[in-house]
Symmetry: C2
Subunit: 466 residues, 2 copies
């Protein structure tokens, strides 16, 4: 008797068997890409979070991904684009990932030196009718998300009022006059988001949608609505949206983080006795008191990164309309931002948010086997996992960090030291270390053991585009 499914069944069966035997997916089939970026999420941040969240012998969800690679972060000098710079910011490193081109610090989707617009993965996706989503716990106009849909010469130009003669976060003057629409440019980042055609954009940054669009008498938010975006501003609204393009703006700027140090404590300078301030071998040191992490009350009412991820996945996958292909970028932004402010508990909580979102992405990929899930970081951060006092504790000399130290009680009953000592300014430096690049098994054959950051763009493109 012939098998009811005939020859086709047999071929399928053999193909499936072969794939199973080889334990690899066939890499040439185009499919969805979910790119998860932990801003500043280098191996120190991951180890710190692992020790806290699952214990030193435990495994985070990201630790369980079957493929591990590393990405060399590249930056060039704006005045001499042939010259390497060894430490990136989020703008230029996200531009590497989004467009495959190395650029200079502060640039969003534009080239070093000659300020050309760089084609990004979202634009390429739209050309093929592929849906796109951008999710971030930062302002949706912040450097990392912006690099996936916008082109400006300075990351600070987030809204129409921030284009010229405006001060950025560090009170430096911003000048994006060449990006003004009146000068033939594409306008500010929020204006470009509304023009981008991105299907789902969820994050913070309402502030950047309230100014008036250049040359119009309506706000960026009003323009977004006119262009077909449903606007949501709370977790409950997010859960109750119909289909269609969606813009969620849940806070004025960066979304409040999940956790903080007890009573909002941050890393502190060890205190030394008078004698020790006279000679380093004398006197004594008092290390900062150990602290617990606690929930951040300001986070209450915020949608979690996981709930934003779930909503984006459900809309992009188009379950009703059939299986649409999509590109989704999800950023846990404040691993970096909290580390700048020496807030170890804050970074740990945001890494947990990333890990929960990854779990959803992997569950989705289980049911949609052509889904490539990538996890990476844009650059390294200052936080270092160090001895909670010193390795040299038995030596009768006070030994301590010259920077700021957080001593964190971990749930497994130990104390973990996190050192912030790249400067004494109100914001720590980034670092130039390689960052992890992880993938689900769909990445087999696509993701080599080491890449430069622009090669992540190629990996995404090769899987996403037909």
């Amino acid at each position: 008797m012939n098998h009811p499914f005939g020859k086709r069944f047999k071929l399928t069966y053999i193909a499936l068997l072969f794939t199973a035997l080889c334990s690899i997916s066939v890499p040439s089939v185009a499919g969805n890409v979910i790119l998860i970026i932990g801003d500043g999420m280098d191996d120190h941040q991951i180890t710190i979070a692992r020790n806290y969240l699952v214990g030193s012998r435990g495994k985070l969800t990201l630790d369980q991904l079957s493929l591990r690679s590393t990405a060399q972060v590249l930056t060039v000098d704006d005045e001499n684009p042939d010259q390497a710079i060894y430490v990136a910011d989020s703008a230029n490193s996200a531009t590497s990932i989004a467009s495959g081109v190395v650029t200079s610090i502060g640039r969003v989707g534009t080239s070093a030196g000659d300020d050309k617009d760089l084609v990004n993965i979202v634009e390429l996706a739209h050309l093929q009718g592929i849906k796109t989503g951008i999710v971030s716990t930062a302002s949706i106009t912040d450097a990392t998300p912006a690099s996936f849909y916008a082109h400006v010469s300075e990351r600070g130009c987030e809204n129409p009022e921030m284009m010229v003669e405006a001060e950025n976060y560090y009170r430096l003057m911003v000048d994006c006059s060449q990006d003004l629409k009146s000068n033939g440019g594409l306008g500010s980042i929020s204006e470009q988001l509304v023009d981008s055609g991105v299907d789902v954009a969820l994050g913070g940054g309402m502030t950047h949608f309230l100014p008036t669009v250049e040359g119009l008498d309506q706000t960026v938010l009003q323009l977004a609505e006119k262009k077909g975006y449903h606007i949501v501003t709370s977790a409950s609204e997010l859960a109750n949206q119909d289909s269609g393009k969606l813009l969620g703006l849940f806070s004025p700027i960066t979304m409040p983080v999940l956790w903080r140090g007890e009573n909002d404590r941050v890393a502190e300078k060890p205190e030394v006795s008078l004698l020790n301030s006279i000679h380093w071998m004398l006197g004594s040191v008092t290390y900062p008191e150990p602290m617990y992490c606690e929930e951040n009350p300001e986070h209450l009412g915020m949608p979690s990164l996981a709930s934003m991820t779930a909503e984006a996945l459900s809309r992009l996958a188009g379950e009703d309309a059939g299986d649409d292909t999509f590109f989704l970028m999800i950023e846990s932004a404040s691993i970096d931002k909290q580390s700048h402010e020496r807030k170890a508990c804050g970074s740990i909580g945001e890494l947990q948010q990333l890990d929960e979102s990854l779990e959803l992405a992997l569950a989705f990929a289980e049911n949609h086997p052509d889904t490539l899930v990538l996890v990476t970081a844009d650059h390294g951060q200052a936080a270092q996992l160090v001895p909670e006092r010193t390795l040299f504790i038995d030596i009768p000399v006070p030994v301590y960090s010259p920077g700021h130290l957080a001593r964190i009680h971990t749930p497994e009953g130990a104390i973990m030291g996190v050192n912030y000592a790249t400067n004494d300014f109100f914001s720590e430096e980034h670092t130039g270390v390689n960052v992890p690049l992880l993938s689900n098994s769909v990445g087999q054959g696509l993701v080599p053991a080491m890449v430069t950051q622009p090669e992540i763009f190629d990996i995404i493109k090769n899987h996403l585009l037909k």
Copy 2:
């Protein structure tokens, strides 16, 4: 006509075809293991070395290994071995790799709390007649190499005169009285090396072989000769040895490193103006002058790590006597030691030594396809790749490291900042970050994308032992 090799050929052919199709090696075949340890070689050290040695867009030999994993470093409290400690030293982390058991800081091949001897991979190899080699740029009795053949309660007990009432490097009293032979122990580390049966041991540390063996009237070196070791003390002697067991001791303690900062400069504290010492927003800072790396004159005449590797490989492989199986541990020790002393050029040179040795190991593995080559580190180190001045250079406030900064001219014409700021003591701290674990393709199916450090022991054991 039947094929001359008949059914067996067909089966072999099918097996080979299947293997080729799946692009994986068959993991169950026992074979050689070459384990290369970069002491303190975390991703910062690797990125710093890459930027210098091959440029930020280049690839080191280790970057080209086809398999990448990461190892979580584990340590426990000696008084409460159930309690995690988050930062290791070389003794306990090398013990994890060598014996598969997590122990406490300072212990070499012994368990936390109850001080039991832990069976190591060299002992297991010898039980099966497998040859072993230990190569290090440190004293061959230093913590990392020692953990592969010795069992003492404190890493400082390197020779018979260092067992009780002796001062270690940090002027702390050492007490290994329970390890004295007269107390039923195995004696000091150098005595244990001579007793270990290791076939090739090459490194520094002559100092530890000159004292008299406990209970005998001969030195450890004399005992080594009596036990059949050829002793060599120079690069030329090393090149001219016959077969047989070999002990090479090329320097009194740690071997002098390949490179140093120009005129032996190390990282320095940025200097601030009087005004800045009054208020952090005032005055100015002078960053350390950029420096070049130069050859270290003290290294002259030393065998390179690569030449020691070549000699060890040639003796262990037993080309004349057929294809012997072997275990070889190669350590580039001073990536860590130079980082403790804030010597960025020193660490870079020692990473180059590791990379050259890896190249030899890979060439050997090409000709001996059952050779698993693993590259890893024992723990993280203080050095951080940071902006060479600051990311906030445009802000009119002096921003600088509170620690020690090296600014290195790289061959590609840029300046690289390396920050050492875990303490102001004469020796920087280790860090608790995950460390890389890399493998040649023989590791496919053996090396998962993430392991705990003791699982490296299992990987080695599973490949090495039949």
